[in-house]
């Protein structure tokens, strides 16, 4: 094994679409794996919400921008022996390649481990990727960049139709066109050539409708190689696998197809020289005769996290050990306790992944699914049969217990056929409706290319639904339960509560199909005779009191990992207080479903009936519902009915706070001023995460929002300590919090928001479940904020009170959005949360911290050039101030007509551009920044087009004048990035 003493691990940055919590889960495992070997772990990530940025397994933590300058500074400061970047996604891989190429690693004698430069180059550059695979005779999808129509047609004739044509080097991947013959190709090629900036087009053989199969392979430096699992997308090629329903293991391959692909996967990994985990993607023709390699990801990924949870095999952990030079058989499988990492997991169940989209938050976004991933999260559900796993998935990713959607129930058959043709987020429901209406399986297969095996499984479900409707017998009830129908679903079908009942028992996920008696299994519900969870509990009995922690399910926009962060902190806190902690959750990316975090894990839906199954088996004394979101809070009543005491705030409390009338009554009674719905107060927003032991309270870090507008607090830029709140106002904040705490007398935490208006303080809202700021507050205060709250819930008293006043550094939280992934979505913020993640900047001054935060969020900083301003009426005073600042720094100002008039009349030299010109200039990359706020009329298309254009050109857009102003000031007061200090928190 290697002799590395200190290793720098790069994280993945903020949660974004296509890059969810799984990287945090993987990074934690990596840090754990390294720590076990006595290595000093230095971890760098820009997001405060990553659990790996807690100093649990990492010895030193840098919450800094993940770019060359700051990582170079960390290298210089820490001088690590090695750099590990395979747990940080593509961005970190590329960053590590750049660091190596620029010689920065050599300067500090740091070795790149886990992957070598050649591998990164080979898989990230399409050209070398094709060459590398060609060398070992593995086929890739035929594609060619051409300059003319004739050339395009010749190529297509050679590889066969249909083909996809798209302008070369366009950021908009959705501009692809399908051509079924020479004629249509000629026409579309010509059009694409015109739109292409470089007058080139890419022709690619279309493999839409082919099967999509992935293998998760792991290999050590001795060339030992196993395939952890096969993964099959139910939606065929054409829809990103992140947006597909997925099943593990693959179900519809013949033995020879399976063997062929698995062998190819191992060959690729071996010949590319990958040491660690690798995801290999294939497209397999429906007749099974031909395949193409469509992707190779030599790092941990969304799929590796999913596969880890579905099999019990710790892919990221094992990869890290391999990076240190260990062979697979030298790495323990701690689930069985008696085998090693070279045992391929044997599954005796079927795992299904449902994608979860957040289109509710992005109402304008186009819901059509394609090659660009749009899902924000996913659920993992497990059953002995596909049907059970699927039905669990339906209620995990959606609100319904049955695969019906109202929108399809009353449409005609023809309309339904059209609905099946559309590949959007509701298609699976349309397919089910069609099967329910007895459309032929062949016809649905013809239209959707979904394999008949899956369609017939759906038919089994539809037949079960019909059986339940027709036959009220015990036999049909039990049959339906086995197929995954809940009592609630059965009641929906029959219209009445069933007289029968059947509780689930639990099987184990043990990596070995029960071949060995596992030491650390985790569980999923089934219907059968043996309750393995019960057997395990009895065999490992403790006297500890039990707490059931309800997880928060699939990630959605607005939950930027904070729920997960809080849940894991809560678990650790409860464990340290001597409780036995049991978790139920269905999010495979989440750290909460890691079997090494809580004492026991149940991978199941979060519906009352599913939770109750766990309660019946575990018989916990307490439950923690607070961090599971609304769904979990609502389970309080059911839990109480089953003699489980709720730790901390329960549903009653939640309702009291959420109901504005009731809450404002309470405030009135406590003599606390509050905004009413009639008056719109625009002013400085303050947010406090208040912890109370029922009597006293403590605010670890009081935050101020930069934006004055009424946007969701999670979408605002926050700073702590506050920068524009004076002492007397702070006193009022203190006074108000005191009054509220006294009135509500709660144990736990409460998020309270205030606005300063006309030099007066008003409470705008409070929330028991809003934990968006908790990770940030934890990092800024250096205190385990969740632990404090949990201890209060459990009856301990606070040792510190009041508002924490920590002098020294400034901390800025910048939300991160994924608008570029969502065609049609507007970037303007409102009350619905739209951010998907967050980053943090730390600095000696507010300006330094803000600039770092902005850089960490991915913004390209420019210190010269032009800005475009287009703002609404009410912003105009602040606009002048902002434009003045930019102008004074030498920026040229452009503005749309009304705004230009305003600025010119205030003696700010401004060029006028109408929106068409503005878009043209954006496309020509003329602007360093765009400031564009919502116009009075909500559907201002012109504005939205400007913002969208800027987004596609990666020009930074400010949708709030205040944040633009704050940013401009940070530019003015700031030195260059290389001179900003990096800090070990």
């Amino acid at each position: 094994m290697s002799n590395y003493k200190k290793i720098l691990v790069l994280g993945a940055g903020p949660v974004k679409i296509g890059q969810s919590l799984e990287f945090d889960y993987s990074a934690l495992q990596v840090c754990r794996a390294l720590k076990e070997e006595g290595i000093t772990v230095v971890f760098a990530n820009s997001s405060p919400s990553a659990l790996a940025t807690d100093k649990v397994f990492a010895d030193k933590v840098y919450i800094e921008p993940l770019n060359i300058e700051s990582v170079k500074r960390i290298l210089e400061k820490e001088k690590p022996d090695a750099l590990l970047s395979t747990a940080g996604g593509d961005d970190s891989l590329e960053l590590s390649l750049e660091l190596a190429q620029n010689g920065y690693l050599e300067e500090t004698n740091t070795v790149l481990i886990g992957i070598n430069q050649d591998v990164i180059r080979n898989v990230k550059n399409r050209h070398s990727f094709v060459d590398a695979l060609c060398e070992i005779s593995e086929p890739t999808v035929p594609a060619l960049v051409v300059n003319g129509v004739e050339e395009a047609c010749d190529f297509a004739d050679k590889v066969g139709y249909p083909v996809i044509v798209r302008p070369a080097y366009t950021p908009d991947r959705e501009s692809a066109e399908y051509c079924n013959d020479r004629e249509s190709l000629a026409a579309k090629a010509e059009k694409s050539l015109e739109t292409s900036i470089v007058s080139q087009i890419l022709i690619e053989k279309s493999i839409a409708g082919w099967k999509e199969i992935e293998f998760e392979v792991i290999r050590d430096s001795e060339d030992n190689c196993i395939s952890v699992a096969s993964v099959e997308s139910i939606d065929p090629v054409g829809i990103h696998t992140g947006d597909s329903l997925v099943v593990i293991p693959a179900q519809t391959l013949t033995d020879s197809e399976f063997t062929k692909l698995r062998r190819a996967a191992r060959k690729i990994v071996s010949s590319l020289g990958i040491e660690g985990s690798c995801n290999v993607q294939f497209a397999l023709s429906p007749d099974g005769k031909e395949y193409f390699v469509t992707g190779v990801d030599p790092r941990v990924s969304r799929t590796s996290a999913l596969v880890s949870k579905a099999t019990g095999y710790r892919i990221a952990y094992v990869s890290a050990k391999i990076a240190l030079g260990k062979a697979l058989f030298e790495i323990e499988n701690d689930v069985t306790g008696c085998t090693t990492a070279c045992n391929e997991p044997a599954m005796d169940y079927c795992a299904v992944k449902f994608p979860k989209w957040s289109f509710e938050s992005f109402s304008e976004a186009n819901r059509t699914l394609g090659t660009m991933m749009k899902a924000t999260g996913e659920s993992l559900t497990i059953g002995t049969g596909f049907e059970l796993a699927f039905m669990k998935g339906i209620r995990s990713a959606g609100k319904n217990h049955l695969p019906h959607l109202e929108q399809f129930e009353n449409i005609t058959d023809d309309e339904l056929k059209n609905a099946i043709r559309k590949s959007d987020d509701t298609r699976i429901f349309a397919v089910y409706e069609a099967i329910y209406r007895d459309f032929s399986i062949d016809e649905i297969n013809e239209i959707t290319k979904i394999d008949k095996w899956f369609l017939n499984k759906l038919k089994n479900i539809a037949d079960t639904e019909k059986l339940v409707k027709a036959d009220n017998s015990k036999a049909s009830y039990e049959y339906a339960k086995n197929m995954g129908f809940t009592d609630f679903a059965i009641e929906q079908i029959t219209g009445e509560k069933s007289e029968y009942s059947l509780s689930a028992v639990f099987n184990s996920i043990d990596t070995c199909s029960a071949e060995f008696d596992a030491k650390k299994p985790y569980f999923y519900s089934v219907f059968g005779a043996d309750n393995e969870a019960k057997i395990f509990i009895n065999a490992n009995n403790t006297d500890k009191k039990k707490v059931l922690v309800i997880g928060s399910g699939p990630s959605v926009a607005g939950r930027t990992g904070d729920n997960d962060y809080c849940t894991v902190h809560a678990i650790n806190s409860l464990k340290s207080q001597g409780f036995e902690v049991i978790v139920i959750n269905n999010n495979p990316a989440s750290v909460t479903t890691d079997y090494n975090v809580a004492d026991r894990v149940y991978i199941d839906p979060l519906c009352n009936e599913d939770i109750l199954n766990v309660v019946k088996t575990e018989k916990p004394e307490y439950a923690l519902v607070l961090f599971g979101g609304e769904n979990a809070i609502k389970a309080s009543e059911m839990l109480k009915d089953n003699d489980v005491e709720i730790l901390g705030p329960d549903y009653d409390f939640y309702r009291k706070i959420t109901n504005k009338i009731e809450f404002f009554d309470i405030l009135d009674y406590a003599n606390v001023k509050h905004t009413s719905s009639k008056k719109l107060c625009v002013g400085t927003c303050i947010e406090a995460h208040v912890i109370s032991d029922g009597e006293n309270y403590f605010v670890p870090a009081l935050c101020e929002h930069i934006e004055k507008a009424h946007i969701n607090s999670g979408d605002s830029i926050s700073v702590t300590p506050t920068v524009s709140v004076d002492d007397s106002m702070l006193e009022t904040v203190n006074e108000y919090i005191g009054a509220i705490v006294k009135e509500l007398s709660f144990k736990g935490a409460l998020d309270i928001q205030f606005v300063v208006f006309d030099n007066d303080l008003y409470v705008t809202k409070a929330s028991a479940t809003n934990t968006t700021l908790v990770p940030f507050v934890t990092k800024a205060s250096g205190m385990d904020v969740v632990d404090m709250a949990i201890r209060c819930m459990a009856g301990e008293k606070l040792s510190q009170t009041g508002i924490n006043n920590k002098d020294g550094k400034y901390f800025v939280r910048v939300p991160v959005f994924s608008f570029e992934k969502l065609k049609g979505a507007d970037m303007v913020l409102d009350e619905k949360t739209k951010s998907t993640g967050d980053v943090m900047g730390i600095g000696d001054t507010f300006d330094n911290a803000l600039l770092k935060g902005m850089i960490a969020s991915g913004m390209r900083i420019k210190r010269t050039g032009s800005i475009l301003v287009s703002v609404r009426e009410s912003d105009k005073t602040d606009t002048v101030k902002m434009a003045e600042e930019f102008l004074s720094q030498g920026f040229k100002i452009y503005a749309t007509s009304d705004t230009a008039k305003l600025l010119n009349s205030n003696h700010i030299a401004t060029n006028t551009a109408n929106s068409e010109q503005a878009v043209e200039m954006i496309n020509a990359n003329k602007f360093s920044y765009v400031v564009s706020t919502l116009q009075n009329n909500r559907n201002s298309d012109e504005e939205s087009i400007i913002r969208r254009a800027a987004l596609m050109r990666k020009t930074p857009v400010f949708t709030s004048v205040q944040s633009a102003y704050a940013f401009s000031k940070s530019l003015a007061n700031n030195n260059v990035m290389e001179e900003l200090e990096v800090t070990d928190i």
Partner: protein, 361 residues
């Protein structure tokens, strides 16, 4: 919910699993073993090591793509088959579903039982006999048969009766394969890599073998107890004196060990599945192998003057491969693959080197 015929799996300690009939309806007795493969069910059914056994598949969804009677046509060796759920076939090819396939081969099966529960039971007990039956009448009589069930004379039962000559491609070597019942498929590795293979019946003696003037002798895999036929061991002793390189697999490996004076032990837990990790001595090289056996060569009985233990199972430290010193012999517990990409591919290449008179790595 279709109407299905009830069937039962009764284990020797009277544990009853209720399920549905699959394949032929009737009675099948045998040792009940599990297998953790998620695919390759036809390979399992035709594997001679399952001779006389009832196989339970731990993966719950069996034969999703059915069975192709043309390509998966080998004879079924197991007495019975247990799955949780078999699937009807929806592809347009000529595949049969598992139920029809087993019917066509006259094999008794059962589906719809909790195979995980069964596996846990088998795992804890080690060796269990059982019966698949469509009726619980005369249960005591059945149980008596179950308790007293043993397999004997298996090799003579399933070994070929007359020699067969198989022609390979680009032939360099003549190999004689002594057949203990393994399917022809296992010889493909030799045929594809430059060997003519003469398959001879199990009881062929040394003199007879020399008539084919072989460059090498292969002792094939076969069913169960290596002590079962002393005559075979005596024959093998004679083979080792012929000066011809010997390569032995599975049952052949165990009988070769017996012929060399080593001992065989019944394992506490058999190796049942496709993910058995085997490590090469002195290397950090692991092979992932498919196995089904309950006997192994006793590690302590291996005389280091006569043989080196060159391969070991990582999970339980059992002997997986031997290199002989007193004659030119190599033997492994599992079936090595012939293709270059496979982690076990080098083993057959080593045997080729032995035939060519080269030293192995």
């Amino acid at each position: 919910m279709m109407e299905r015929k009830k069937a039962y799996l009764v284990l020797q300690d009277k544990i009853i699993f209720e399920g549905y009939s699959m394949g032929k309806s009737g009675v099948a007795i045998g040792e009940v073993v599990f297998n953790t493969c998620t695919s390759s069910y036809t390979d399992i059914l035709s594997d001679p090591t399952y001779y006389g056994q009832i196989v339970a598949q731990t993966y719950p969804l069996a034969a999703n793509r059915g069975v192709n009677p043309e390509t998966d046509g080998s004879e079924i060796m197991s007495n019975g088959y247990i799955v949780r759920e078999w699937c009807d076939v929806y592809s347009d090819g000529n595949e049969m579903n598992l139920d029809d396939y087993l019917k066509s081969r006259g094999i008794v099966g059962i589906c719809g039982i909790d195979t995980r529960r069964l596996t846990r039971y088998l795992r804890d007990k080690g060796y269990v006999n059982g019966v698949i039956t469509d009726s619980l009448e005369n249960l005591d009589e059945l149980l008596y048969k179950v308790e007293n069930y043993t397999v004997s004379g298996a090799v003579s039962e399933i070994s070929i009766k007359e020699p067969v000559c198989l022609k390979g491609e680009n032939v360099k070597y003549n190999v004689v394969a002594v057949d203990y019942g393994s399917p022809r498929k296992q010889l493909n590795a030799f045929l594809l890599n430059g060997c003519n293979v003469t398959v001879v019946p199990a009881f062929t003696d040394a003199e007879e073998i020399m008539k084919y003037s072989p460059d090498g002798i292969v002792l094939c895999d076969g069913p169960a107890d290596p002590d079962d036929e002393p005559q075979l061991i005596d024959n093998i002793k004679a083979y080792t004196k012929l000066g011809v390189p010997i390569f032995a697999i599975g049952l052949g490996h165990q009988m070769l060990a017996l012929a060399s004076g080593f001992k065989i032990v019944k394992m506490e837990k058999g190796h049942r599945g496709s993910n058995q990790p085997v490590i090469l001595a002195n290397f950090k090289k692991v092979m992932i192998t498919t196995q089904n056996h309950g006997y192994a060569v006793d590690r302590d009985s291996v005389d280091s003057n006569n043989a080196d233990i060159i391969m070991t199972n990582i999970n339980d430290n059992t002997v997986e491969g031997l290199k002989y010193k007193n004659f030119n012999g190599l033997s492994v517990q599992f079936t090595p693959k012939g293709d270059v990409d496979s982690s076990t591919g080098f083993i057959i290449r080593d045997f080729f080197k032995m035939m060519a008179g080269e030293e192995n790595e």
